[in-house]
Symmetry: C2
């Protein structure tokens, strides 16, 4: 089920700059009991990305009304919002008057087994590297070939996530998640100044706990006490195995899982 600029449609114009150039951005949101979870944070990030790309910011009231319309009878689902610069312009040059395209679509919630969160997941290192581009770093824009190519590296369903390095051998994030590690009770994550997507859950953890954002390599990661990945759909998954290294699920991870669940329940 989806809405394109407020109408029930399943297609967009070929001329849409989202299709022509990936000229846009998106949000992926958990829907629970008819409600978009952490919607305020998602809309704030969507607004910031529109401003960075100089796409006119869609009305939050319109977005909220359309989200209600789409999600009101939904128990559990994933809501995806795509905003593009719309159609028009000649080549890369954008038109003088921009009419952004707004697509809201509802998808089945992935049937991840409960034990991913409880007992941890298995991850691998991807050989596809993230490029360096400070202009685009952190944004959830529509240029996502790096993630597509990284996710295509494995078919083995016993592996739940791939960890990506940048071309300088710095560890950055998962193909669909942000990555944290804990060492001697201190939390660390990648700084995302040159690549990566700055996720909502990552930002909430950083607001809640003292996290050191820095550059680190594979050896530093593998020497960690605890590892976990996070995003808006999975919440927090501990990593129990990465390459040939095993990890136990520590107190930091368990505490943050509990904290995030409470935040989601009391989100309004």
């Amino acid at each position: 089920m989806m809405l394109v600029n407020g109408e029930y449609q399943t297609h967009i114009e070929v001329a849409d700059r989202g299709f022509q150039y990936g000229d846009g951005l998106f949000e992926t949101i958990t829907v629970h009991n008819g409600k978009a979870v952490f919607l305020q944070q998602h809309l704030a990030r969507l607004t910031a990305a529109c401003q960075r790309l100089r796409i006119p910011v869609p009305s939050p009231d319109t977005l909220r009304a359309e989200i209600d319309q789409l999600c009101q009878n939904t128990e559990q689902a994933v809501l995806k919002i795509i905003i593009t610069r719309g159609s028009g312009g000649r080549g890369y040059r954008q038109p003088d008057d921009i009419s952004p395209t707004r697509v809201l679509s509802l998808h089945p919630f992935p049937n991840y087994p409960d034990n991913y969160a409880r007992e941890g997941i298995t991850a691998r290192f991807c050989s596809t590297r993230l490029g360096l581009n400070p202009t685009l770093a952190g944004m959830k824009h529509l240029n996502r070939l790096e993630q597509v190519l990284a996710r295509a590296e494995w078919q083995d369903d016993t592996i739940q996530e791939g960890i990506m390095l940048d071309i300088n051998d710095c560890v950055i994030e998962g193909t669909m998640s942000n990555l944290f590690y804990s060492k001697n009770q201190q939390l660390y994550t990648a700084a995302l100044t040159q690549s990566g997507i700055a996720g909502i859950i990552r930002a909430m953890i950083i607001s809640h706990e003292f996290v050191i954002e820095h550059n680190f390599n594979q050896a530093e990661l593998l020497a960690a006490d605890e590892l976990f990945v996070c995003n808006s759909v999975i919440g927090i998954w501990p990593i129990k195995q990465l390459a040939s290294h095993t990890f136990t699920i520590g107190n930091k991870t368990k505490y943050l899982q509990h904290w995030l669940t409470q935040r989601a329940i009391h989100d309004d």
Copy 2:
């Protein structure tokens, strides 16, 4: 006028991975007297990009038949071919069976004044930098936000092209063209190992003349004897002014313009 998978349509599925992730590639081709110019070169590059992205290569016979259907009565136009990985998959993960999407669209030929080719153009340096990513470098893929942001830097119609540097201050290319310079009768262009789009005309010039592909900075470029940009639609445009530097149109550039025109006339 356009064909989507062989049918006259103007829309594609929202679920198409070209729209969702920029998961695809494109070609931009000049049509002259009903014929796609340098089609063999374009189809070879399209095939190579499909192979790099592991998208099944569309049948060349189908493509040629659809190009004929679309272009047969066209005097002068631009043909754009977009190939995407099609719809499906969950998130970045692609489906097991890929049905690529094939979009051919015909656009009015831009009404560039004749004197751009004869007397040269004015160019500027863009402040938007190209990121570094060897995995994607050279390909004409659909992740083109860098070019969109660079082209949005100027509105002044007396400036015809913007020259882009990468994040290491190397000069790479124009927003829509490849860039060559000549110094002491030797031709140079950027190596495109970490960024940039390897154009058809660039490749033809490199096959025809001895060109040094290397890294160079703004100072080296501005000390050149001759400068020009090229692509499949504009052919070769000399640069007469870049930033505050002026250049004369030299024999190398004039020779290559003549050579390229002859190649286009006798292309078959």
